[in-house]
Amino acid sequence: MQFWIVQSLNSLALGGLLFLLATGFSLIFGLMRIANLTHGALFMLGAYVGVTTLKFVPNLWLAALIAGLLVALFGGLLERSILRRLAGNALGQVLVTLGVSFIVADFCLIVWGGDPIPIAAPTSLQRPIVVGNIAFPAYRLVVLGIAIITAIALHLLMERTRLGAMIRAGVDDMQMARAVGVPVSRLFTTVFCLGAALAGAGGVIAGPIMSAYPGLDADMLPLALIVVILGGVGSLLGAFVGSFVIAIIYTFGSALLPDLAYVILFLPMIVVIAFRPRGLFGRRST
């Protein structure tokens, strides 16, 4: 019993982290029609920037905020200086993001070295929550809370604000959005920065659970990809549900059949692609 409860809570925490990563990926894909393959690297860069920031600012949340902003700045530069030049060439853009992800990963290796660097949870959250005979790290519940709050905030952003209306219009029909005067160029940069910020901050928040280590990018990117394939491109709800579904499958898979955790991930993907290629909540096919 204890096993099931603890693993369920673990998968909820992982789902929260995945959501922070995948929702930006999904929005960027939905709006700009490009798969941003730097997204895993941005997550890792965020974690490492968090490591350094924590040396000067001993507060994890502040560090996450700072890392989010710095990674957003980097994302904005990437979008403005490189992706912009390749407008209309989706494949070229994707290949460039792949190239940049290698550069970022190697940069992190040079600066922060090859050993995993742990990130401590805030002291107030280090004591586990004990209910009956089950002890559970409080930090993970907070991570889940952050993901839910972020999801609600993004939902309000999308449904209640002018920016959100423009994003929705762009995801549905770019030509139409352009025709009715949506400033597409600025919108692209904004959404790219937003996605990068979520990934960067997500990396820091993931720190106390995963640490910062080389290869974090390659571990996270496929999970985000599968979430988006499962949930559908450009769908907030899809990213949310997909993140938790994948996190549950991955966590229990790793615990019960550690050898084949990745193969188990593969199964929901096949089912969804076979029967609903748009993903569970996607409006357009990938």
């Binding site: 290949l95 460039v96 792949l98 290698f102 190697d106 390659a218 496929p222 990938t286």
Partner: protein, 309 residues
């Protein structure tokens, strides 16, 4: 290429082990494997318009299957090789069926996700793959009793296999099937209306490409006598794709030239600098922005212009 140029090329390739040192002979063998591998990906990328970011799956699957059968079941090479090819080709059939539910970026994402699943599995399924330690203690086959352990012997072996493979793939490109494949790349709707089964054409190409990828995988594991999960990594898939694009997708010579350049670059950079990933990324960015057609078409355009003036 003119007939004279071809003869010179063949003579140089045949004579090379007589003049080159072991280091260069081995480098050449690796270039052949990379060229064969890139050519198989080019069928999809260049002629099918289907950009796969999961081609490393075929090298890895074939290599792991062959190594595992040899180490765990003690089977001999003449049995392990066809079994590895069959196994990899069957999985290519399955992956193709899934990935071709989409085209364009969807196809790219699904191939990437599928190959990452294999990569993750290679690390974790230690009972089969020996995890991060990789599988070692492998041998090279000895076809017709000829040992391939020497650099020159392996050179001629991989050269022969590569020539046959590239020739077969070039035949496909110039065949009616190849014409249907290119037509499906350019105007898939029109091709369906003309009676072509576009999906099946693509799927068969995917499987064929996987088969030759598997052949490259066998050469790869015979050469190294070792296989590690990094062979399945995104970096591997990216390297071969870079070779195809840098050399010139949709040409026969392009991916061969591109793969050779990537491999030479990798060997030298790893030897002196240990910053391969950064360079790989940088070359990717530069090629995509400044030379999206690739080197071979670029040179062709250039020489055509020279001839005109």
């Amino acid at each position: 290429m003119s007939a004279a140029a071809r003869i010179v090329l063949v003579l140089v390739l045949v004579a090379f082990p007589l003049i080159g040192g072991d280091f260069y002979i081995n480098l050449a063998s690796q270039i052949f494997i990379a060229a064969l591998f890139a050519t198989s990906l080019n069928l999809l990328v260049g002629y099918g318009g289907l950009v796969s970011l999961g081609h490393a799956a075929w090298i890895g699957l074939a290599a792991y299957t062959s190594a595992w059968l040899y180490l765990h079941l003690g089977l001999r090479h003449w049995i392990t090789a066809p079994l590895a090819l069959v196994n990899t080709t069957l999985i290519a059939g399955l992956f193709g069926w899934i990935a071709l539910r989409a085209t364009g970026l969807g196809f790219l994402m699904i191939t990437l996700a599928l190959s990452q699943v294999l990569w993750g599995t290679a690390y974790r399924w230690a009972a089969v793959t020996n995890g991060d330690n990789g599988l070692s203690g492998l041998t090279r086959p000895a076809p017709f009793g000829i040992s391939l352990d020497g650099p020159a012997a392996f050179y001629y072996f991989s050269l022969t296999v590569t020539i046959v493979a590239v020739w077969m793939m070039a035949r496909l490109v110039n065949s009616p099937f190849g014409a249907a494949l290119r037509g499906s790349r350019d105007e898939s709707r029109r091709m369906s209306a003309l009676g072509h089964n576009v999906w099946l054409v693509r799927w068969l190409t995917f499987v064929y490409s996987g088969f030759w990828g598997a052949v490259a995988g066998l050469l790869f594991v015979y050469y190294h006598k070792y296989i590690h999960p990094t062979a399945l990594s995104l970096t591997s898939s990216a390297e071969v794709l870079l070779g195809v694009i840098a050399g010139g997708a949709g040409t026969i010579a392009g991916p061969i030239v591109g793969a050779a350049i990537v491999l030479i670059l990798k060997n030298y950079v790893s030897a002196y600098l240990d910053r391969w990933n950064m360079l790989l990324g940088a070359v990717f960015v530069v090629i995509v922005i400044f030379m999206p057609d690739g080197i071979v078409p670029g040179i062709r355009r250039w020489s055509a212009r020279l001839r005109k003036t």
